[in-house]
């Protein structure tokens, strides 16, 4: 029975979907790399959560693992308590339908030679959500209405090249909704859309969460977008394939527990001259990002970490442990001092 705290929405009971100690390896020219290493993540019903990290940290792989599109090398993916990859044929397919992915690139997420109607009607016919064309047009119009594309009839006959980036992402979300998913994994779904309309897309996702009680995982490299989207939920920070911090968003952003999160929050430029030019910087010991082929021993961040302690951080890999209420961190020093890294760094 894990307690999942989600901002003002406290969710008790069995988590809806959970990654348990999942590792995923990929073969590359230089050798095998662990894109994701022993990641555990539990998501409750209708939770809005963000996975944040720089490129190569494994957040996209985690998203694909959650959606059941790639198989873990070790560890389990549980959906409603059952191991998904032990399930057979149609049960696996039923699971995969209940977790939908919204992609990053609006220009590649829709088939260029199929109209919006054809894209939306395919899943409706396949899963008997509409009998015949008239019903399919009806349901498709409802879906478009719900994602804010009105009047739907205008959009149904259009081809993707006749839509703007934002409109395409909305069609992509409507397509995901067509199979009544329980979880939506939005992989950088707003990062290729104009800044001026990102918030409306995030609001759409949050509205869907409330209206359909869908759990939404937003994967992003933009901490500001994460803070806005998960303001009543949790943020997980990843670094080189491991979850280094997981907790309520205002804690992770306001008072980061892991030195890497603190470095990120301090480094991000803000759209506010006075604030951003006066921000306290976190000096890292090296700017070099280690390669996944030659991962540093112990805590992967130790070569760059200002709180580095010889003999501790470079020996044992820190586990994700509770530090204060509703937040976990994978840092020996922070856990030992029971004080978030941000404050330790300030004292430094």
């Amino acid at each position: 029975m894990t307690v999942v705290v989600s901002g003002d929405v406290t969710v008790q009971g069995e988590p809806l979907i959970e990654l348990v100690g999942v590792t995923r390896e990929f073969k590359t020219p230089g050798g095998a790399i662990k894109a994701v290493e022993r990641v555990s993540l539990a998501l409750g019903q209708s939770e809005a959560m963000c996975l944040v990290g720089e490129s190569g940290c494994g957040k996209t792989t985690t998203g694909r693992l959650l959606a059941g599109l790639i198989r873990p090398t070790s560890g389990q993916l549980l959906f409603e308590g059952k191991d998904v990859w032990k399930a057979k044929g149609d049960e696996l397919a039923r699971f995969r339908r209940s977790v939908q992915l919204v992609h990053q690139d609006p220009y590649a997420s829709l088939n260029p030679i199929r109209t919006v109607y054809q894209t939306l009607s395919a899943p409706l016919f396949r899963h008997h959500k509409a009998r015949g064309r008239r019903a399919a047009v009806g349901v498709a119009s409802e879906l478009l209405q719900r994602v804010g594309l009105t009047p739907p009839a205008d959009f149904l006959v259009k081809y993707p090249h006749q839509l703007s980036g934002g409109q395409r992402q909305r069609v992509s979300i409507a397509r995901a909704l067509s199979v009544d998913p329980r979880v939506i994994v939005a992989d950088e779904a707003v990062s290729m859309v104009d800044v001026s309309i990102r918030i409306s897309l995030l609001n759409l996702l949050l509205a869907l969460r409330d209206e359909f009680r869908v759990t939404i995982v937003l994967i992003t490299h933009d901490l500001a977008v994460a803070r806005y989207f998960a303001r009543r939920g949790r943020i997980g920070v990843m670094y080189l394939g491991r979850v280094v911090e997981l907790g309520r968003s205002e804690l992770v952003v306001g008072d980061p527990a892991h030195p890497y999160s603190a470095a990120l929050v301090a480094a991000i430029p803000e759209a506010d001259p006075t604030l951003t030019r006066s921000k306290e910087r976190v000096e890292l010991r090296s700017a070099e990002v280690p390669s996944l082929l030659r991962l540093p021993t112990g805590c992967a961040f130790h070569p760059r970490c200002p709180l580095f302690e010889e003999g501790l951080c470079d020996v044992k890999v820190p586990a994700l442990l509770q530090i204060g209420e509703a937040r976990e961190v994978a840092c020996h020093v922070a856990v030992r001092e029971r004080v978030p890294a941000a404050e330790l760094l300030a004292a430094h």
Binding site: D194, S196, S200, A224, A263, I268, P269, A271, L275, V289
Partner: protein
Amino acid sequence: MPRKGEGATEQLEADQVLSVRGLSIVYATRRGPVQAVRDVSFDLRRGETLAIIGESGSGKTTMAVSLVRLSPRTARITKGHILYRKGDETIDVASLGDSDLREFRWSECAMVFQAALNSFNPVISIWEQFLDTGRAHGMMRTDDVRTRSGELLSLVNLDPGRVLGAYPHELSGGMKQRVLIALSLLLKPPIIILDEPTTALDILTQRAIIDLLRRLREQLGFSMIFISHDLSLAAELADRVITMYAGTVVERANVKDLFYRPRHPYSMGLLRAVPRVTGALGSVASIAGSPPDLIHLPEGCTYNPRCPFVIDECKLREPDLLAVDMPQHDARCIRWKHVAEMIGTDEAAVAEKMAAKA
């Protein structure tokens, strides 16, 4: 103030290094001619950093690329001048001959593209590309180029030995951006133009590039223009900011005025649409509607379909850049006073001001 008539090439004042006057560019496309840039004017002082902010279709890159006359074949400058002050004489870049233009590029004004795009020739080493650039501008002795390149690469915290011998595909995005900056300083140009210098880079690498640019600007004193869709980059580095929409300048202001006291509805909407990480979140909101189709621009002010302050008169004629209630600050909007009423003059983010209002 924009100049209407076609005056003779006018002399720039001593501290003005670049002045763009009424620049217009038309693209020939299959669906007809596109007014990509319409009547853009701005000045750049010595040592000043100017940010040009705009979203997709704003024409910011088309305009910037035309400053060194690198527009693609299908683009034509139809109107306007690009005045550059070299020593005490003023030259119009638009009318430079080929050899003068080639000399002008990189020794007077270096244009650096995005690191993520492949700005380096993939089949020759980084050293050869430094050598090419040096040779093209009269640095004939190879070891002059070698010592100069070594200096510059160390200046941008890179190890010359490893980088010069490498091929472009062997460098990370962050490293490529640093090498591009080092290369841009090879001939100590008075102006450096950077197109989306931090897009597609990770947070910590982005921070390193911003601090690097700030340090180099202090040390070497060059003027800088950077083009980006990322407002926070302007907040970090800019002295003055220009926002562009549908091919034209909609607001010109000093950095604090633009961020805390915007006078054009689009700048205001853009500022309100960008959430912050630290400090209060405020009431964040998107701009309604979707980006303009440059072939069928709306009548009158091009922003009117998305503007909350729109009145009938906005649909008649595109307004000029009007001086507003602050010095060196103008906005292309006849309703700027109403924006001023809502935004006021105190130094607080737009989202916070709107939260206080709601």
